[in-house]
Symmetry: C2
Subunit: 255 residues, 2 copies
Amino acid sequence: MSATHKAEAKPPMRDALVAAAFRLFLERGYEQTTVDDIVALAGVGRRSFFRYFPSKEDVVFPDHERCLADMTAFLAASGKEHEPVRRVCDAARLVLLMYAENPSFSVQRYRLTKQVPGLRAYELSVVWRYERALAEYLRGRFTGRPDGNLHADVIAAAVVAAHNNALRSWLRSAGQGDASTTVDHALGYVQSAFGAPPTASTASTSTAATARPVFPSLPMPPADEMPDDVVEVVSRRGAPLWRVVQEIEMTLGRD
Amino acid sequence: MSATHKAEAKPPMRDALVAAAFRLFLERGYEQTTVDDIVALAGVGRRSFFRYFPSKEDVVFPDHERCLADMTAFLAASGKEHEPVRRVCDAARLVLLMYAENPSFSVQRYRLTKQVPGLRAYELSVVWRYERALAEYLRGRFTGRPDGNLHADVIAAAVVAAHNNALRSWLRSAGQGDASTTVDHALGYVQSAFGAPPTASTASTSTAATARPVFPSLPMPPADEMPDDVVEVVSRRGAPLWRVVQEIEMTLGRD
């Protein structure tokens, strides 16, 4: 709770850098903005920027590393009782959740990424890492099965494609509508193709605002057991980034 | 025929640049080789290099643009009589064919790509373009079908994943064995998952050396109807690049 409170009182430096970067990207364009411009606006030094982000591209996707870590932990916490195809579908929903937490930010980034080839390439590499995380889990579950690795790779790719088809629909609609329902429907197609009975997903009634609680099996420890870096994650999941993005929008007079 | 003859008499400049580049990449490493080094070894000017290749990365993948064009033409030449899932599987086999034409070159490149993150990123962007070509074709065929775009995207991703799983197995085996059989088996899994009855593929008896004739429906015009640039393609499909690669291998004393 204290981390959330602190975050609301003053956005952490990392969020301030993201906010400054997006303000400049929207005002001047991505290519025309330098790291020096970003740190000048955020009022910090270059070294602070590179402490959080290896490159300018990374500031565009500030939450993927955390999401990849969440996904890996979620899959690692799986047991034999989890039907594997349904499990990777649930893991993919973590990515949706990240986007749905901050619709305005996600839509802005989607538009920016479409315009900048370098960001598109970066995004492809991130998508590849998600796909490999899902495939590695499935390879483990399919060990000893004939063609286990082949099936793992194909199902992982199908899950990612279904998820991204639904995610892009939602982003193109400017973040209107219920992203979870669209993604559930898309993942249901993959489950039906690969033998996992499609069921009403655990996430089917979620909305962006309430999406977090629908992952009861997500291995998040109670707050007082969390190490410091996980507390930081909680503060980033909260309101501040929203608010900062809204501030940018108001300043720029955009929707 | 005359183009093939010309190519055998003297490798075209484009092939000479590829050969010089790979010789230097193997000797010095990719990062340590500049475009200036490549053109010096090939005995041409910088402008000649950039006439063929937009960047140093492009010389590593000299045949993907041609293969993408072949794939697009192959899909564009499809009719209603072609079952769509089987058709995209056949289209994917064109990529295998490109790799299987020059096993030594393909294996060298596979090893190089694994070592250089920038090349890996480049490869992901190429894979993405193949996947989009397949998906766009399927979207057209599934127009009016409920969830047509979703199904198209998922099937295209599954086809690419199955193809690449088989291709990587073959590359890891240093290009030994019958790549076509492995890929046919992998694509059969996708066909069975998405409702297209898996059949003995048209390519199932092919080998790298005889792979070309197994695509009777590939829309290649007779040689005397080909525009000049297509003739160039034919010369590149022939022996010269093989021979150049063998020369490199002999010079370097590698297997």
